[in-house]
Amino acid sequence: MNNDEISSGLSRRTFIKTGLGAGAGLSLGVWLPALAQMGGPGKAGAAGATGALEPNAFVRIGPDGVVQVVAKHLEMGQGSWTGLATLVAEELDADWDQVEVIGAPADAARYNNLFWGPVQGTGGSTAMANSHKQMREAGAAARAMLLAAAAERWGVEVGDITIDRGTVTGPGAGQRAGFGDLAEAAAAQPVPDLVFLKDRKDFRLIGQMLPRKDNPGKVNGTALYTQDIRLPDMLTAVVLHSPRFGGRLSGFDAADAKKVSGVVDVFEIPSGVAVVARDTWSAMSGRDALRAEWDDSDAFTGTAGELMARYRDMADQPGTVVRADGDVAAALAAADTVLAADYEFPFLAHATMEPMNCVVRVDAEGCEIFNGAQLQTGDQMAVAQALGIEPGQVRINMLYAGGSFGRRANPHSDYVLEALHIAKHVGRPVPVKLVWTREDDMRAGYYRPMYFHRLRGAVGPDGKPSVWQHRIVGQSILAGTAFAEALIKDGVDSTSVEGASDLPYGIPNLGVDLHSPVVPVPVQWWRAVGSTHTAFSTETFIDELAVAAGKDPVEYRLGLLGDHPRHARVLQLAAEKGGWGAPAPEGQFRGIALHESFNTRVAQVVDVSLDGDGAWRVHRVVVAVDCGMAINPDNIRAQVEGGMGFGLSAALGEAITFDGGRVVEGNYDGYPVLRMNQMPRVEVHIVKNDAPPTGVGEPATPVIAPAVAIALHRATGQRLRRLPLKLG
């Protein structure tokens, strides 16, 4: 057994039984000391002389032998439910087919994200990274209790019992039992003080291709999303929002709307006018008949172009210092030739296939919510505050989400609160389903912010970059949210500069600074967050420096990655597998880019051809990824394929724009997302690695656009620095 496979903090670990799954059967929780050290709201009441006890409950084994894994993370497509179940089942030696996954309730004391302190939520590609050990320990503890129960029943030593694929076998004749046979007796066993985790060589499930646990429901139509919730007496609501951000309702005429058959009520809520009806179509038809006037005196009435011009002006002045190595000003002054490049990135919509929606019922106990819940703790607090109740009285049922890419983790709980206001007005205990149409979803905001970047740099006498100055202008996502305190340091929103402030290339004079203009367009994290723009400017600019130095861009980067061997390795692997240095197929051009986000390194080699009229097409993408230990290689491949496709979609044609403050794009015609005939072949190579697992949902997204831009430069000589990428 490797030392690092023995759980840390053994002496302090305490396991306790929880009330989950009361009745016959084994149910246990794991208390993690790490949680107690973080403090936070969940800790206070339980804290005593012996320290805080915060029971987590992740596994239940019923008398029927079904192993239920309680998933604390949202399944929004990234395979988290399958991954969490794999970890538990591995240590438990369960048969994969006997494992079921259910969503955890909202309860940060038990189900918090271990990277986020006392906050329950999913995001930042942390699902496996924060919980892999927690889940394995939960499985291992359950296994130990099953073994103890079997040993007692058969009168044999624990060491003489084996478990294989859900079958417990003793040394004597007929000593065989399933988990279900032993569950009740196991529940009476003491929970072990310490557990040992398996050695990697004994893994049977980790590292294998397993069928996703959500496959059956998602291929036969029975998987339940928020959109699919139907409750007795439930009403459906749509909302007429202000057409401009910051517009205020000054009056509305509901007479015609109320005449629409099925419409039950029309009323004002803080975010607009709600139309509540017996079904979705009636609600939508009612809204079509509604007339409203808006006071735009405080509203945003500009265009994206005007905003970008303002950002460009701001970039003439130094911003808040993020990083200052060496003497950038002196090095720029001393350089023979200074390269300079300006970059423009548009607002982007998440455009999840399932538009935002939420079901809320205000009842005597508080409030019940059905949602593809991604930030339970934030939503609980926001709703509790609006209702004047305790967060614990807000019960959240976590449904599958039809995509999120960050959108459902809204730090302002925007659509959840909107649903709540409607349900509150309708009165208890009638449940209300808020439904956003595609147009509502695209126009109600919370975009990847627009950004402007300016890079300046020079090549020194040794051919390496002597100086690099990176100025970034764009809205802060975190300002005004509960995350500001933790993640805005010295006026710098870390999500605005990630990927730039931690540039892996060794450059002696390196400066990064930031302007965070305040603009009334609502913004939010979007798959890969800051890296969605920083990867593009940094990778295309390092390519410019390599070309200026007359060097091969792979060799050039490798020469600067001395402190980052994992970056170097992933770049070399992509170059080798992607045929870097060899000619691309006839009529195609090759580009390469490298970027780390969420502690995962990704390099991509692309083959691109020109399609006429400024259009281009990607034929093949070869990806190398280093995400530490590969829990599920097939899921890593799937996330790399999909994540890359998501970035390619933005590079091809996504942009949110404004006409007098009104969002122009409303549906998939104006906001085109990737279609099958635009999807390249993708090859994924995973670096073999024993490091702790890191995220895979996001890191492939930011790498494709710079790789394409570099290939297009080779094809045309043009440097494209504005997204989406259109050739002139």
Binding site: N215, N220, W281, P355, V673
Partner: protein, 156 residues
């Protein structure tokens, strides 16, 4: 009263004949496997079969759907459907899954009309079905595998 035949069963609906079939299926018949994505025939999430052909139920009114043979993901059956759904599972196609009912309805239609589609034909037939999770590479492979399996006469 509108008479709708869905998955072989006939229902009498007291609804606006201008209501899209999608909302009648979801809200009135409880068949929520058919999804809403755009409401404008742009995404394919709402794809059902009407008289054996793929149709966008978000722009098909009850007036038009009445009296026709409507099939949804819940009523999908037969060897092609079995092969497609089986191959979807074997290749772990789904991610968020929200588009996948529509993808499967489109794929089954494709293979029922063209048992051995080439890559360009697959792309043509499927490019009206958006997948924001970009599972396209696997959808392509899964259709190819299902076609091979059907050609070989293997059971799903």
């Amino acid at each position: 009263m509108i008479e709708l035949t869905v998955n072989g069963e006939t229902h009498e609906l007291d609804a606006d004949p201008g209501m899209p079939l999608l909302w009648a299926l979801r809200d009135h018949l409880g068949l929520t496997g058919t999804k809403y994505g755009c409401g404008a025939a742009l995404c394919g999430a709402c794809t059902v079969h009407v008289d054996g052909r793929p149709r966008r139920s978000c722009v098909t009114t009850l007036r038009v759907a009445a009296g026709k043979d409507i099939r949804t993901i819940e009523g999908l059956q037969g060897p092609v459907a079995k092969a497609v759904q089986g191959s979807w599972e074997r290749l772990n196609v789904v991610q968020c899954g929200y588009c996948q009912s529509g993808q499967i309805m489109a794929a089954v239609s494709l293979l029922e009309g063209n048992p051995r589609p080439g890559p360009a034909e697959i792309d043509d037939a499927m490019s009206g079905n958006l997948c924001r999770c970009a599972t396209y590479a696997r959808i392509r492979d899964a259709i190819g595998k299902a076609a091979e399996q059907l050609a070989a006469g293997e059971p799903g």
